[in-house]
């Protein structure tokens, strides 16, 4: 009996000592979503960080993208968020970010290398906080299945001209689809952000003279009309916009060679390298042109620190490591993401792929940065741009199925945005 009691005492002392040993270890959590292999790459990079920094452990909570859009804002508002998060609603969540400036060893490095993109993550009037860094810069733009053009014996329009219009691309895609009995000539991600590039190219201003968001101009209407009609006549994938809720993409159709022209963005390169490889020649082509330019939309995802964290210093240490030029360069190379880092842009990234198609595609996207219109940058920097994008997506869908006329749809987009902004105050 005495032996039994002695064992119990020793065991309980050991158990009591466990928390004491682990008290020095800080556990940080990152809320993350994946487009491709970036979660895997991040884990690998963090493993190295943890080996060098045994006092910090970083857990990655990978969630669906929808959870980043819908659940994370509620968690942050309730003060229940993670220590860091990968977000795309950059300005919309700015009130919850951690300003890491006091904890960074070299804030100047951040200003120097991430300067133009820090504003996207700041509240209006704030020009100094450092809440995080872009994990990638994205550019929207079209992919084509070049093999289908060749099989159909139809010239790729961008081979013949530097400024191909949307109508020319539509005509060529329909011709290819008809020649080869391909089900879908064109598709565009179901996203107001994706629609914005073509709309700006058509002359949409998106902001009035007072800086208030507006869609009441001819440029927007022109592209909206064209876009709705393309859904009605079968030029665009007829089910993707009308039969979805929220975001939808046409990755599968494109990877299965059922789609000729796919308006999406640079983040797809990694996925297409994996899914398609060199099964057919896929290619990124410059954004089509209109009276307002030949622009896509910039965008991207950022890793930000969350203000409610109990460990701001440790968060800053992790962020400094991940944002360092070598580590971020490796992250970009292995994920095939375009880095939003001045130093890396200057030195270039040797993308970790043997696939020439992927390298060429990334080259075209990087080349597109210079063609983006200022309106596109302004719209991306606008904190409530998603309210505008979502209303555009949902109301244009209603016009496609005849629930609203085009003019009613545009009026409703404006009403939705005005009402939401009035509530926001």
């Amino acid at each position: 009996m005495r032996k039994f009691v002695a064992i119990l005492v020793v065991l309980s002392m050991l158990l009591a000592a466990v928390p004491a040993f682990s008290q020095d270890m800080v556990e940080l959590r990152i809320r993350w979503y994946d487009d491709g292999n970036e979660g895997e790459v991040l884990r690998d990079l963090l493993d190295r960080f943890e080996a060098d920094n045994p006092d910090i452990s970083v857990e990655i909570d990978t969630v669906p993208y929808r959870a980043i859009l819908e659940n994370l804002p509620l968690d942050l508002a309730a003060g229940e968020g993670p220590d860091m998060a990968r977000v795309t609603d950059l300005g919309g969540l700015a009130e919850y970010y951690l300003d890491m400036t006091p904890y960074l060893s070299d804030p100047g490095y951040w200003e120097e290398n991430f300067g133009p993109f820090l504003n996207w993550k700041r509240l209006p009037g704030d020009d100094s906080s450092i809440p995080g860094f872009m994990t990638q810069l994205t550019i929207t733009g079209p992919f084509i299945n070049r093999t289908l053009f060749e099989q159909a014996g139809i010239e790729v329009p961008s081979d013949m001209s530097d400024s191909v219009t949307w109508d020319e691309w539509a005509a060529a895609s329909v011709a290819v689809a008809e020649a080869l009995e391909i089900p879908y000539p064109m598709a565009m991600d179901r996203s107001g952000h994706r629609f914005a590039g073509p709309a700006i190219s058509s002359g949409a201003m998106y902001f009035d003279d007072m800086g208030h968001p507006t869609v009441m101009d001819e440029g927007f209407r022109d592209m909206a009309e064209r876009f709705v009609n393309w859904h009605l006549d079968g030029t665009m994938h007829p089910e993707m916009w009308p039969l979805s809720e929220g975001y939808a993409g046409a990755n599968e159709e494109f990877a299965n060679a059922e789609l000729v022209f796919y308006m999406s963005g640079s983040w797809q390169v990694g996925q297409f390298s994996e899914q398609i490889g060199d099964a057919f020649d896929w290619q990124t082509v410059p954004n089509p042109c209109g009276p307002g330019g030949c622009t896509g939309m910039p965008g991207g995802a950022a890793l930000v620190g969350i203000g409610a964290t109990e460990h701001p210093e440790e968060v800053a240490r992790v962020m400094e490591y991940l944002a360092s030029q070598d580590v971020l360069g490796e992250f970009a190379a292995r994920t095939l993401f375009i880095p939003a880092h001045a130093g890396l842009s200057a030195s270039g990234v040797d993308f970790d792929t043997d696939l020439q198609l992927a390298k060429d595609s990334l080259g075209v996207f990087v080349g597109q940065v210079g063609t983006l219109e200022q309106t596109a940058f302004d719209l991306q920097a606008y904190a409530f741009n998603r309210a505008l994008f979502d209303a555009t997506r949902d109301r244009l869908t209603q016009a496609m199925v005849g629930e609203l006329t085009l003019d009613e749809a545009i009026d409703r987009i404006q009403d939705d945005v005005d009402t939401a902004l009035a509530e926001q105050g």
Partner: protein, 346 residues
């Protein structure tokens, strides 16, 4: 010499085994009883035996209060507030403004004339869905239960088959049917075999509503069939014997014996399926996303989108819409209860 065990041996062994079990189980049962008794006896002495009932329902009331009543009251408060802040103390009180916004309409039958057109589209779609889905569920569950109550070949197998979809996740059900109904799907493959032209079933605004009703009936009717089957099996067979002696045919059996005795069970099915139909979200969200356009977007999806999915989350408007839904359900249920009471009195 081997001795063959006789029944009395088994009986003795069984009694002994039970005795041992009883000995083992007795302290396990008596100890907690004694402990509970030690707690309850002083309470009973203090409050009196008449009020002990309240004490026993208290745990349940607490759970109901915390998880049902409190959220309902909170929802009521949110419906009276505006802004986009999450915590109630940060939200400005706006009275009935959110309800005024919802009901700001020139013509309730034409959603485009309403300020919150999507709310009224949701109401209109929900009414259509509920009428067709509940009718479908009651009718097909009844027919299936009647068939499965007869002595047919492989009755057990068929009972399992009809119940099986109930066990599936709504997401799985919707994805299976999406695969069947898409343009390059199974249904069009069959249609083309018969020489007909393939169709975009879910893109057609009329067919879309038909299919969401069909899929939800398919997925849920097994549960209601089971309830009706239990109701049918509780009808005493003597009544059918008596009616056959009176010369009744099958229709008369159904009309004058089965239906009157099945009415209480039918009523349960009606109430449960109605509540489930009004709250329908999962199947439709995955199958059509509420589309084409908003053709199959029901009121619950409007509440979800307004409150949670949009970048600027309008909790007040969403809460007001959910109150309208809750009150409508309450009225419908009370109406059904009244009708049920009247029919049982008649």
């Amino acid at each position: 010499m081997n001795r063959t065990a006789d029944p009395s041996d088994h009986e003795r062994m069984g009694t002994r085994a039970l005795g041992i079990l009883d000995e083992l189980a007795r302290p396990l049962i008596l100890l907690p009883v004694a402990a509970v008794d030690r707690i309850l006896t002083p309470i009973q002495k203090r409050v009196g035996i008449d009020k002990m009932g309240y004490f026993f329902v208290l745990p349940n009331l607490l759970i109901f209060g915390i998880f049902v009543l409190f959220p309902m009251l909170l929802n009521f408060y949110y419906a009276m507030t505006g802004g986009t802040k999450l915590f109630p103390e940060d939200r400005p009180f706006v009275g009935l403004d959110n309800f005024a916004t919802l009901f700001d309409c020139d013509d309730f039958l034409s959603p485009n004339t309403c300020q919150e057109d999507l709310f009224w589209r949701g109401i209109s779609n929900t009414i259509q869905f509920v009428v067709f889905q509940v009718s479908g569920i009651v009718f097909f569950s009844l027919v299936t239960a009647l068939v499965l109550n007869r002595k047919i070949v492989a009755r057990g197998f068929f009972r399992s088959v009809f119940f099986y979809p109930v066990l599936l996740s709504p997401v799985v059900v919707a994805l299976i049917w999406k695969w069947v109904l898409q343009h390059e799907g199974v249904l069009n493959a069959i249609v083309e075999i018969f020489g007909a032209e393939s169709k975009r079933w879910l893109l057609d605004t009329n067919w879309a509503m038909f299919w969401v009703v069909f899929v939800s009936v398919w997925a849920l009717m097994g549960f209601y069939t089971l309830i009706l089957l239990a109701g049918l099996q509780s009808i005493p067979p003597e009544l059918y014997e008596a009616s056959s002696i009176d010369g009744a045919n099958h229709w008369q059996d159904f009309r004058f014996v089965t239906m009157p005795l099945l009415m209480p069970t039918m009523f349960v099915v009606l109430v449960l399926s109605l509540i489930r139909a009004v709250q329908m979200f999962d199947h439709i969200f995955v199958l059509t996303g509420g589309g084409p356009g908003t053709r199959t977007q029901l009121i619950v999806q409007y509440i979800y989108t307004t409150g949670f999915s949009n970048q600027i989350q309008l909790f007040g408007l969403s809460a007001a819409a959910s109150m309208v839904l809750g009150i409508s359900l309450l009225v419908l249920t009370l109406l059904q209860l009244r009708l049920g009471n009247q029919s049982s009195l008649a």
